[in-house]
Amino acid sequence: MAKPRIKVPKKAAAGDVIKIKALVSHTMESGQRKDKEGNVIPRKIINKFVCSFNGSTVFSCDIDPAVSANPYLEFRAKVMESGTFTFQWTDDDSSVIEAEKSIEVA
């Protein structure tokens, strides 16, 4: 499986509102589809996404099966100091995909 793709600027000025993009490889099986034998394919999606900066939550979302495969998210964050963004995607099976990105704030 591909690693999550995350785009965070390397540098910013204190007080800047920066753009963050995140894309993770996942089929987002909706639970609405049927296989060739007509059996419902069980739901298996990323249901939660959390982005934190230096330990506190910046942005999060609760995700339903209507979000496309390979879920894409774009959002903003206001940065006042250098630090690390952490990203967590939680699967229906409770497994968590994690990633990190650092930013230097002048």
Binding site: V17, I18, S30, Q32, F53, S56, T57, V58, F59, S60, C61, D62, I63, D64, P65, A66, V67, S68, A69, P71, Y72, L73, E74, F75, R76, A77, K78
Partner: protein, 147 residues
């Protein structure tokens, strides 16, 4: 015995869902109920929340949308959440974006699945309880020769 007419009838009935398995879709009422659950008794207003969605989605499997509430977010005044609903999908819920004062700006974008042509509705809830909505109709194309 001519069976053509019978076959045709069966096919025609099948296509309108009498004999075929028909999917059950959410309705505008389901979305209204969901909004009511978020808003409670608060007045629902429009204007400061903008939902961006294509007029025509080339494929319902991946429809880009974005939400934006005007203004900078501060600890005193910020957007708590923007929930997105679709009134023609099997389930009306799509996604809920949760913001904090550290979000800086209440902007979020994603891609969603739309089962057919329908309305997409965004509902923003401010920390003071104010509720905003915006709606866009998205026409979902239905393929060419192969369907």
């Amino acid at each position: 015995m001519n069976t053509n007419r019978r076959k045709l009838l069966v096919r025609t009935l099948g296509t309108v869902g009498l004999l075929g398995t028909s999917k059950v879709f959410a309705t505008a009422e389901d979305v209204e109920a969901a909004i009511k659950a978020i808003a409670g008794d608060a007045e629902i207003t429009q204007g400061a929340l903008t939902l961006t969605a294509p007029e025509i989605a080339e494929n319902g499997n991946s429809v880009p949308i974005a939400v934006l509430v005007d203004g900078e977010l501060t600890p005193e005044s910020y957007v708590e959440s923007v929930a997105v609903f679709a009134d023609g999908n099997p389930n009306p819920e799509v996604i809920t974006f949760n913001f904090t004062p550290d979000s800086g700006e209440a902007f979020a974008a994603t891609r969603l699945r739309l089962a057919k042509t329908q309305n997409v509705v965004a509902v923003a809830k401010m920390n003071d309880g104010t509720v905003l909505t915006d709606t866009k109709n998205v026409k979902v194309t239905i393929g060419g020769c192969g369907g």
